[in-house]
């Protein structure tokens, strides 16, 4: 397997940001009320991730080490602003559905984390493919959660009514949607189920003696991702 496909495989499966690393939980929970929103958010994040990885990798020898975090943030925030305007102009319905969470892509741990841990150390082409892999992994994660929530919460898949709804007025039998799944608590419940499943897989793998990538995100206090663990601007007294 050559380097580029390896990066995509790594992002999609081995270090899937949603299911394995547990990064970027805010958008994961907030926008997955339907599969379409999940795809939209995932692809917007992918675009930002690929572009920022590319630019940061190009600039990796120019940006001084001491100001790298502010520089990364400016790069990411610029691309997020561009994506925001493109969505507002061309896909206004998605723009309305995602709302506040589009500008909040800036503080998504995945993007700064990849910039810090991969793009700032590796050549351009590999960084682009790393962005594609991670972004697609995130998209798959969001879409999967969105599908589950949409199917249980409204009986639809991608807006198509898969399960015919019950009609109490005419007494017609059918599916009674569990509305709570498209409301806030449903997001927590679905994610709880998914992480429990992930734990189970991990425990089984551990018993067989295999190594599994550890979650690096929220469960561990966010300390391991690049942008979260401290000072963005250099204070002049970082000696270590």
């Amino acid at each position: 397997m050559n380097g580029c496909t390896e990066r995509v495989y790594n992002g999609l499966i081995k270090e899937n940001p949603t299911f394995v690393l547990m990064l970027g939980m805010c958008p994961t929970l907030a926008v997955t009320t339907s599969a379409v929103n999940g795809v939209g958010m995932g692809l917007s994040t992918t675009v930002v991730l690929v572009l920022s990885n590319m630019l940061i990798s190009m600039l990796r020898k120019i940006i001084p080490d001491s100001v790298r975090m502010p520089a990364f943030i400016v790069v990411v925030a610029s691309f997020v602003t561009i994506v925001q305007f493109l969505l507002e102009g061309f896909v206004p319905s998605l723009y309305d559905a995602l709302g506040l969470y589009i500008p909040l892509i800036v503080v998504n741990c995945i993007i700064l984390g990849r910039a810090e841990s991969y793009a700032s150390k590796n050549p351009v082409v590999l960084s682009i493919f790393d962005g594609i892999g991670m972004g697609l992994g995130f998209t798959v994660g969001l879409t999967a959660i969105g599908l589950v929530r949409e199917l249980i919460g409204s009986g639809k898949i991608f807006g198509y009514q898969l399960l015919p709804l019950a009609d109490t007025a005419t007494g017609q039998a059918g599916y009674v949607p569990v509305t709570i799944f498209i409301l806030a608590p449903g997001a927590f419940l679905v994610l709880a189920g998914l992480t429990a499943l992930q734990n189970k897989v991990k425990l089984r793998a551990a018993r067989k003696g295999k190594k599994v990538t550890e979650a690096s995100g929220c469960g561990e206090g966010c300390a391991s991702c690049g942008g979260c663990n401290g000072k963005v601007f250099p204070t002049g007294n970082e000696k270590e």
Binding site: M22, M25, C26, P27, L29, A30, M69, P70, I73, V74, A77, S78, V80, T81, Q84, F85, L100, P103, L104, V106, V107, C109, L112, I180, L183, A184, P185, G186, A187, F188, L189, L191, A192, G193, T195, A196, L197, N199, K200, L203, A215, G217, C218, G219, E220, G221, C222, A223, G227, C228, N229, G230, K231, V232, F233, T235
Partner: protein, 191 residues
């Protein structure tokens, strides 16, 4: 006055920042193991969001709007917040060591807490003025503190419970969050 009260209660309890808007999930799950640390984090968040919402409203109103560059809001806000958090940390270390000892370790974690940027952007989106913006900031951050302290209290009790193997750790915390979120729905008739 009445409007301000409605905004404050609305952002603190009815539209709780963690449980219904999903902002700041990372610290909510990560720093809620003990009530003591959770209240420290809550205090630090109240402190930072209040200052940040004031400063960002000022910048938006007196710099971005007059210069017609309000489209740069995301970039400007995130940089201002990052710089502000670090400035607050240095200031506290120098002049209020006791407060710094209580909140210091949590301050750096706040930069990427999306609730801070979220409040700044909500203030702009909803066209809040400076005073209403600050009130919204205080309300939101108090809501965060309430949620994280309650969660920490429940988690301290969960320690002693017999939970099935695969639900230990994050999953049971998420189930707890779901139940809390359902409970907070009860407030939705308040306003």
């Amino acid at each position: 006055m009445k409007e301000l009260l409605i905004i404050a209660i609305g952002s603190a309890i009815v539209n709780n920042v963690v449980l219904s808007q999903f902002l700041g999930i990372c610290p909510f799950l990560g720093v809620s193991k003990k009530v003591e640390t959770a209240s420290g984090m809550g205090g630090a968040v109240i402190f930072v969001i209040t200052i940040a919402s004031f400063i960002t409203s000022l910048i938006y109103k007196f710099i971005l709007v007059p210069l017609h560059i309000s489209y740069l809001q995301t970039i400007v806000f995130i940089l201002v917040i990052a710089a502000l958090v670090q400035f607050v940390e240095m200031f506290l270390k120098k002049s209020m060591p006791s407060l710094y000892n209580a909140l210091g370790v949590y301050l750096p974690l706040i930069t990427t807490n999306c609730a801070v940027l979220g409040v700044a952007l909500t203030n702009v989106q909803k066209d809040y003025g400076i005073l209403t913006g600050v009130v919204n900031g205080i309300g939101t951050s108090v809501g965060f503190a309430i949620a994280i302290v309650i969660m920490a209290g429940i988690r301290e009790k969960i320690e002693y419970n017999d939970i099935s193997e695969s639900f230990q750790g994050t999953p049971i915390v998420l189930v707890t969050a779901a139940l809390m979120s359902i409970a907070f729905f009860g407030f939705s008739g308040l306003i």
